[in-house]
């Protein structure tokens, strides 16, 4: 029983990290109808930004809330710029070309970031600095509630609340919803589609940056290929929840996090990566629209 509750705590904290990354996938898909493969590598760049900022400013030695905030802000800025650049240079020229070409470009950008990362940062894994002091907040008879889990959950909750506010209450959020439901009509009604897309990339990349630092706190080992697997899992989470749907991405990510933790806890850890694809294939065959997705009929 104790183990079970512990697995649930770990699963939720893992799931909330997946959620932050899945949100980036789902928002870009909702607006541009494309899978941004490079998103996972923006996340990788976020982790490395935090690593180098902490190293150069000497913050490694003083973990605390201010360190966390500083790293978050710097990683968010760098990732936003990167996301914006990717959109401008790689995706915008292909706005009107077939979906397949955009998909191939996205894979190309992803590989480019990964291998440039290997050249620039080195292929060997690096140890992520300690951002917050690790301690056990509460101990219920062997059941540990670690400070890192609470931080992860807290930061991702705050991020999601802010995201929800932006999308539901602000002008640009309304424009995003309009473009996502019908881009051509939205542009006819005076929405600057290009600006909305750029903004979406900024928001998505910032969320990925937050996710990268939280992962760094939980699993302090970073390397240039770290985005590959977690990106695929977050993508699966987005599809599970219904791609394009924001609450769906969060729900799907929590399901993914919990089920992965259970597989590792009770079955075998070698199959944890195959699980994600297993889930994906089952959903796509039986319910391709996902849990919260809208069903749309193709008109001729």
């Amino acid at each position: 029983m104790q183990d079970f509750v512990q697995h649930i705590i770990n699963g939720i904290s893992l799931g909330s990290i997946y959620a932050l990354i899945a949100l980036g996938y789902t928002m870009v898909y909702g607006i541009m109808k494309m899978i941004n493969f490079a998103h996972a590598d923006v996340y990788m760049v976020g982790a490395f930004t935090a690593y180098y900022v902490a190293k150069w400013t000497g913050l490694e030695s003083s973990p605390g809330v201010s360190t966390l905030l500083l790293l978050l802000v710097s990683a968010m800025i760098i990732c936003s710029v990167l996301g914006l650049l990717i959109e401008r240079l790689a995706y915008r020229p292909l706005r009107k070309s077939p979906k397949l070409n955009v998909l191939i470009t996205a894979i190309g950008v992803s590989l480019f970031l990964e291998f440039s990362g290997q050249v620039i940062f080195g292929a060997d894994p690096k140890v992520f600095p300690e951002v917050m002091n690790q301690f056990v907040i509460a101990n219920f008879g062997g059941l540990e509630l670690k400070s890192s889990d609470v931080t992860v959950l807290g930061v991702s909750l705050i991020a999601m609340v802010i995201l929800n506010f932006i999308i539901q209450k602000t002008k640009i959020g309304r424009a995003m919803r309009a473009v996502s439901s019908n881009a051509s009509v939205a542009s006819m009604l005076g929405v600057n589609t290009d600006r909305v897309i750029s903004f979406t990339f900024i928001v998505g990349s910032s969320l990925a940056a937050i996710g990268s630092i939280l992962v760094g706190m939980k699993y302090p080992k970073i390397d240039p290929l770290m985005g590959m697997m977690i990106g695929l899992k977050a993508f699966v989470a987005a599809v599970l929840g219904g791609i394009g749907s924001i609450p769906g991405a969060v729900a799907g990510a929590l399901i993914m996090g919990l089920s992965e933790e259970m597989v590792v806890g009770y079955l075998s850890s070698t199959y944890r990566d195959a699980l994600a694809f297993g889930i994906l294939i089952v959903i796509l065959i039986f319910k391709p629209t996902g849990l919260f997705g809208k069903y749309s009929v193709e008109k001729v």
């Binding site: 292909l94 998909l103 950008v109």
Partner: protein
């Protein structure tokens, strides 16, 4: 003799002559690269059938290649049906078995997933490719992460060259003639407009599955050739990067152009070797960075690839003859 038999035979004879020259003319390093060019050509042509001609997007070609490679390698290391001097018959049998098993896997993968379109299909095929690799990694019977070593190969380069060319020609002429048959027009119509094709009475799901099965057969054959040429395979030979490599070849050559696929296979196989000297100067491995940049640039500047959907004779006619 009928033309459909004559042309391949002439081509085969010409290639054999070329192989005979290479056998004595160049060193083992270049010979191995030549073999890789042929294997990559088969891989690219087979993927072109799915990605180029049928308009589906598969990102799991390495998985099918792995099945062919492992089947052929396992069978030829575990059982010896023929005596040493007839070893090549054994390799022929195991190659076909590998191809057939790969196409069976292609059928299993294709049947459910080809109901999906575009991005989703790409992700599912990627997933299947990874599942095949993870399964091989966990199978102790085929060596797990250590892979299979000591796979029997041909006595000399000339034999491996002719055998690889034999399969490359089968693959080329099979796809070439298939696309120009009424069956092949069905494939093309699915690419152009699936709904219209369906309205014209084409069973689109069946067509797509057929393309998938045929393509995985040749991917399996390419895998088997790879296993026998390199004498060693492991799950890390068949990663996602291998699938991407195959996609790059198809895209660079032009989706729907067999000669384009072959040209791209030449380019993609030779480029890393050519860049080796660059690596010695800079000290870092820039090959993959250049690869990925190339992929992006092709998509932006020339999305139809080098040859588009034209073949070499068409291009010859268009540019060379006209100016003469």
């Amino acid at each position: 003799m009928h033309k459909s038999v004559k042309t391949p035979l002439i081509a085969f004879a010409a290639l054999l002559l070329f192989g005979g020259l290479l056998n004595f003319g160049v060193n083992a390093y270049i010979q191995l690269i030549v073999l890789f060019v042929i294997i990559n050509s088969i891989l690219a042509m087979s993927l072109n059938l799915v990605n180029g001609y049928t308009g589906q997007f598969s990102l799991g070609h390495a998985g099918f290649m792995a099945i062919g490679a492992y089947t052929s390698a396992y069978a030829s290391t575990q059982f010896s049906f023929f005596s040493e001097s007839f070893g090549f018959i054994g390799i022929f049998v195991t190659t076909i078995t590998g191809g057939l098993l790969a196409s069976a896997a292609g059928f299993l993968v294709g049947l459910p997933s080809l109901r999906l379109k575009g991005d989703y299909l790409a992700i599912v095929t990627l997933g299947f490719g990874e599942i095949i690799r993870v399964t091989l990694l966990n199978m102790e019977a085929v060596g797990g992460p250590r892979g299979i070593s000591g796979i029997p190969s041909f006595p000399n380069f000339f034999f491996s060259f002719s055998y690889s060319c034999f399969w490359a020609l089968i693959c080329f002429f099979f796809i070439w003639r298939l696309i120009r048959s009424s069956h092949g027009r069905g494939f093309l119509s699915v690419r152009e407009d699936e709904i219209a094709a369906e309205a014209m009475g084409i069973n689109t799901t069946k067509t797509k599955v057929q393309a998938f099965v045929l393509s995985s057969f040749f991917a399996g054959v390419a895998g088997a050739l790879f296993a026998h040429v390199t004498n060693f395979i492991s799950p890390s030979s068949f990663t996602f990067l291998m699938s991407v490599n195959a996609v790059i070849m198809v895209v660079l050559g032009g989706m729907g152009s067999l000669s384009g696929s072959i040209a791209a296979a030449f380019f993609i196989t030779l480029m890393p070797e050519a860049l080796r000297s660059l690596q010695e100067i800079t000290g870092v491995d820039l090959r993959m960075v250049i690869y990925s940049l190339l992929l992006i640039l092709i998509m932006i500047l020339r999305p139809q690839g080098l040859f588009g959907d034209k073949e070499l004779p068409d291009i010859w006619r268009k540019y060379v003859r006209k100016s003469a």
